[in-house]
Symmetry: none
Subunit: 208 residues, 4 copies
Amino acid sequence: MSLAAQQRKHSKRQQIIDAAVEVFARSGFHGSRVADVAREAEVADGTIYNYFKSKDDLLISIFEQKMGDMIQQAEEVIAPVSDPLEKLRRLACFHMDNVERHINVAKVLQVELRLSNTFMKEYEPVRLRQYMDIIGRVLEEGIASGVIRSDVSSVIVRRAFFGALDEIAMQWILTPGARYGLRESAEQIARVFVRGIQATGPRVSPSV
Amino acid sequence: MSLAAQQRKHSKRQQIIDAAVEVFARSGFHGSRVADVAREAEVADGTIYNYFKSKDDLLISIFEQKMGDMIQQAEEVIAPVSDPLEKLRRLACFHMDNVERHINVAKVLQVELRLSNTFMKEYEPVRLRQYMDIIGRVLEEGIASGVIRSDVSSVIVRRAFFGALDEIAMQWILTPGARYGLRESAEQIARVFVRGIQATGPRVSPSV
Amino acid sequence: MSLAAQQRKHSKRQQIIDAAVEVFARSGFHGSRVADVAREAEVADGTIYNYFKSKDDLLISIFEQKMGDMIQQAEEVIAPVSDPLEKLRRLACFHMDNVERHINVAKVLQVELRLSNTFMKEYEPVRLRQYMDIIGRVLEEGIASGVIRSDVSSVIVRRAFFGALDEIAMQWILTPGARYGLRESAEQIARVFVRGIQATGPRVSPSV
Amino acid sequence: MSLAAQQRKHSKRQQIIDAAVEVFARSGFHGSRVADVAREAEVADGTIYNYFKSKDDLLISIFEQKMGDMIQQAEEVIAPVSDPLEKLRRLACFHMDNVERHINVAKVLQVELRLSNTFMKEYEPVRLRQYMDIIGRVLEEGIASGVIRSDVSSVIVRRAFFGALDEIAMQWILTPGARYGLRESAEQIARVFVRGIQATGPRVSPSV
DNA sequence: AATGAATGAGGTTTCATTCAT
DNA sequence: GATGAATGAAACCTCATTCAT
């Protein structure tokens, strides 16, 4: 395949993904017909099946691509920071900023993905674990360097941290006129978790 | 309607709900046919529609009933406790114990409910908010009494707390051989949140 | 199920089979939509699936029923006859009469069945073998009684006899204005086979 | 067009036909995609349409070519023989030998062709008639020369003879472990037909 | 002549729900 | 209230064919 052909193919695949994000965000995954995505992408119905195995595969491909982007960007966000606790704060903010800036993508990732039987029951959400692993590595780093208490389970807390962010994001997406901004929520969650896990210094030390 | 008839009605309605919990937990909401529930409940297909408006209504009714139970029991769990922070710990443990003891109910509430378009998009999950409101009230109580920092947003943290528990529970349900017990997770999450929100006053030793 | 209900059910099943024979004969199996059969039978599309597993199953059910009828009638046709050679002649006539009288059924059995992948590749045509077994038994009877030569293979000849009848019938069905009558063909084929297999005794001129 | 180009065209056309025979025999006509044939023939999908009007046309072209070969060879097989009855015997053997030696071709001609709507309903199988006409001519020859009874209808018997051979061949192809050899079947069928149609002269014992 | 990406028509089947008994 | 046979809408996906390159 020539380079031009590759680009054309890439561009068409991307064209379909972009259209699907729009359509799924607007009508939901189950509420959208493949034909709707095709019309939005300005291709024929069958063309979608030249790039994706099934409607489910299209959804999963969106997830893979967008989560891949998030994983990479999250790594970049914490790279220049050395304090693990500050890293957590930045991750929280990054997560929420992402939701806010790419609301359609967020709608699909947060809401529609969960509505797909395939996703939750047959698809192994590797990317999701990779994303949480970033949090996990920061936690372990902090434990190793002593800024995070050693009785913190990175396995549990990484998921709890993600769950907290996720639940807020979900609510924000589902509630058109939310009462709180996502940035404020990110800061609040980060503050609670940071205080909750940080090692207490020479200051009178909590015994537990 | 006679009392006996009412009881019979109640009994048949409950019979259907119990059957639906079994069937939905086993095959998923979308993977279960109304006829499957009918067979499990040992009633005719049409009979279900004498008690529930639709298949979605059946799912929502399970949610209403089971969340109603949880709300009531959660209230009872924290009633005898006075320390708001200890109340949070007990709520976390109660939540996870419930998941562990009623795994089929948990599967339906945590997993299957999310697979129903109707639930997330048209149904207002009042019970869920009531459940989180319990957490919220404890938080506000703590803020008022000074054991919780006043910069804690009860609106955000109640949802973050629930999200943390929920995400762990979801993972536990979806992963047959989880590495951590739910009780341990509950304690861990409670500890992080309690430390994260408690006021650092002249008090020397936090009790949790 | 009450007797009335059974009759109703039977009648509806038969109603669908009768409609399917009409429609399949008119437009071919592949050329007919399930909806066409439903309209002809004056039932809803879905009703067909209360009685048949699939469109293929409907075709096979027609085959089973009609071949079952033919098998039974063929047995009756030869029952009162004692001469195996005369039995063969009557079977040939019976076969062709059937084609002529139930041309729509014949069209489906002879032509459409062969167009169904399922039939020829996955379905074991037991009934077809049973039908040919009737011929085979007559042959063996004749061999045993000495009126048929002992070097005749009943296994081969039964199929050859059927193939000869079948090919003529097929042609007759596919060619609207056939040059020869089926009855005449039946007699001709019977005569050739009878002469071809009969033991040559002291008699010089065969009587058939 | 140069001679070389003609040969190339012929070669590519033949390449596609050969590939199609393989693929159709393996997966059936309906079960094979044009793309499968293209891959087997090592050409692009579209190339097939430079040589054949449609998928059906490809099937028909196979039929035309292979039946053309058979017709020619059948003529050659009977050319050196003078006795019409012996000619029939040789035709039967030739037919079955062909099936046995070119089983893939036979699978396509005998089985797959019948699965094609087009073939049976719109295509006039001229070649098939030509093939049967060879049998017919032999019969008429025999009638004219007196070795075949004059009450034999060549129109009917040619088709019956073919039908007998065809049915046996079909069964042999569809049943992997057939009980009888095709050569034996050919001899058996020939013997029955020859005895069945030959004039009973002063001679008492038929020679075949 | 060769390519292969793009096209788009077309139909079986499921299953939630109804309603006559 | 209970039944369960009948209903009918709704959409994914395949694949033969085309045509710009």
